[in-house]
Amino acid sequence: MSKDLTIRDLHISVQGKPIIKGLNLSVQQGEIHALMGPNGSGKSTLAKGLMGHPLYEVDSGEVIFDGIDVLELEPNERAKLGLFLAFQYPTAIPGVSLANFLRLAVSAVRGKGANGSEKDGLIPMREFRRELREKMQQLGVDDSFARRYLNDGFSGGEMKRAEILQLAMLEPKIAILDETDSGLDIDAVRIVGESISQLIGPDLGVLIITHYPRLLDYIRPQFVHILLDGRVVESGGWELTQVLEAEGYDPIREKHGIAE
C-alpha cells in the first residue's frame, strides 16, 4: 500500500517570526508534486521544518506520515521512516568520506540487525560497495566521488549530485528536493534533472521545492502548488507552471491580497 505524507494547518516560526502560516499539502508515494514560490515565501523553512531542524519551531499543525506523527520524531527517526531532504545548501563534513558516511547512513536507515548485517550493525562492505558502484554508474557520477570528503570543496553541481546519490542509496518513500536546481548552470540542471527522473517510480513520492521551473522540464509533476506568504494558495496541474511562466507571481498575489 502506498504511503503518504500529510501536512495539516502547519505553522512554523524561525526565531519567533512566523514563516509558515497554516500550510496544507499531501504527497503520496509515486506522486510528483512541485511547490513553487518566490524568494521569502517559506520554501526552505518548510523543507527544514519537515525534516526536524531544531531552529525551525513548529507552533501548531500536524505532519503525518504513514499514520505516524512525524513532529514528535528526531530527524534520524524521520529518515528511518522514509523521509528524505535534498538540501539546498548541503553541509560539508571535512575528513569524512562520502562512502564511509553513506555506509553508516544506509545501515541506519535500513535498520540494524537487518538481513546480512555484520556484528557492528553495518551492511557488509562488499555488498555496500557493489550497490554504491551501481548507483554511481546509473547516475553517471565519477568513481572518485566516493573517496572525497562529504561536500567538502564540492562545486554547486557536485553537491547536488551527491544529494541525489544519497537519495538513490537511501531509497526514501518521500523525498523533498529543496531548490535542487538553484545555483546551477543549464547543463548542471539537465544532469541533475535526468538523474532524479531515473529514480522516479511507484515507490517514490517527490516534493520539488523551487522558485524557477527549469528542473520541471526533466521531471514533470502531476501536481503543482503555489506557496505565498507561508500558505499554499493555489493547487493545480502542469498548466499552473505555464501561467507562472507567462505572468509571474504578481497576478496570484493580487488575487489573494498578499503584498510583495
Binding site: M51, P54, E74, T91, I93, P94, A108, V109, Y149
Partner: protein, 452 residues
Amino acid sequence: MQKGDFSKEFLQKIAAAEPQWMREKRLEAYALYESLPMPHTTKDDVWRRTVDMRTQDYWRRTRRYLRGFAVENYHPSVPNGAVSSEDVDYSEAETAGGLVQVDGRCQHTSGSEILKEKGVYFADIHTALQEQPELLRTYFMNKAVTLETVLKSGNIAQRNKFDALHGAFWQGGYLLHVPKGARLEVPLHVYIKMSEAEQADLSHTLIIAEEGSQVVVLEDNLSTTPDASGLHSGAVEIFAGQNANVTYVQAQRWNRQIWNFASHRAMVARDAHLCWVTATFGGRLNKINQAVVLEGAGGNAKMLGIAFTDARQHLDVSTAQEHVSPHTSSDLLYRTVLKDRAQSAWGGNIYVYPAANHTDAYQKNDNLLLSERAHADTLPGLEIQAHEVRCTHGATAGKIDAEQIFYLMSRGLLYTEAEKLIVEGFFEPVMERIPLKSVREELSTSITRKLE
C-alpha cells in the same frame, strides 16, 4: 612496595652505584629543583616566558589547575626491590624489539636478531648506564633537554622545576642507539606503565639515530588502573643524525589522576627527517614542552598532535619549532577535541634564527569543543630573524556545528553517531599523515573510547 621520596638522601641512594659524573649531574639538578618555586606560587613565573604571551588567562588557568598538587604526595620507586612479572602485550612478529616498564622498573626487554645484526643498542636506561656510559655522558640531558634551555635567539632561558626534578630523580626509560647506516623497517615497541597509587614515574627516553639510519619507535604511556593517582615527570630526547629518518610516536593514556609534566626536545641534523606524533588522552593536568631544533641545513620535521580530553582534564602544551640552519622545514598540525569541562591551552612558536634563510615553517592548531563548558586557548606565534622565509600559522577553536549534526541526523544517524563522525573527520587531516596503519587504528580506538 617500598617508597622513596624527593630528598637528597634518597637521591644519594639511587645514585650510589652510578658513575661519579651522573651523581654530580643529579645533584646539580637537585640544587636547581630546590631553588625553583612551584609555578603557581610565584609572580615571577618562569613558565610564562616559554611562549609569546598575549593573554594572562592562559597561565591563570594552568595555575588554577595546579592548585592542590604537591610533589611530596608522590614517591619514586625504590630500586632493586622485587617486581611482579607482567604480561608482554606486543606481538613479536611485527616488532624489531620491545620494552615493558612498570612504575619506573624495567620488566622485560626483547630484541630481534635484526637488532643484533645491525648493531642497534636498545636497553633500559640503567643497563645502558653500565653498558654505554659514554653515549649517556655525551647525550643525556646535555644537548636537548637541559636544566637551562637557552633558545638560540639568546635571550630567553627556560628553567623548569619539573625538568630539574626529572634531572635529579630520573629512573626508568630507555636508550635506543641506531648506528650509522642501520635501517630498521619494523618498529620498536615501548610500554611505560604506571600501576601503584601515589607513584612517581620519571622515565627518560633517549633516542640517538646516527647518520643515514632509519628507525620507528612506538611508545605507549599508560595506566594499568583507572584511578591510581600519580605523577609523571618525564623527558624525551631525540637525535636525528645527518640524513637519518626517525619516526617517534608517543601515545599518552595515563588515567585521569596522573599529573603529567614533560619536556620533549628533538635535534634534527643536516638533511634528516623526523616524523613526530603525539597523542594525548590521559592525565589530570598535562604540562608539556615540545620542541624541535632544526640544526642542520635541509632538515625537516613533521609534528603531528592529536588530543582528546574530557571530564576536568587540563592540557597545556607549548611547542617550539626552532630553525637554526637554512633550507630547513617544519610542519606542525595539532588538533584537540574537548568534552565536558576539559580545558586546553596551546602556545606554539616558530623561531627562525638569522642564518636560517629559506626556512619553510607551518604551524596550525585547531580545537573542537563538544560541550558548552569546554574551553580552549590557542596562541600561535612567530619570531623571525631571517630573510626569505615562508612561515604560515593559524589557529581555530569552535563548537561542534549544529548544521553538521542536523545534516547527518537527517540521513538517519543518531546524535552520538553524527558527533563521532564529525570528531573522526576533524582528526582525519592529522591521521592521514601518520605513516603507520597500526598507529592510526590504535588511536582511532582511543578516540572511540573517549566518545562512549
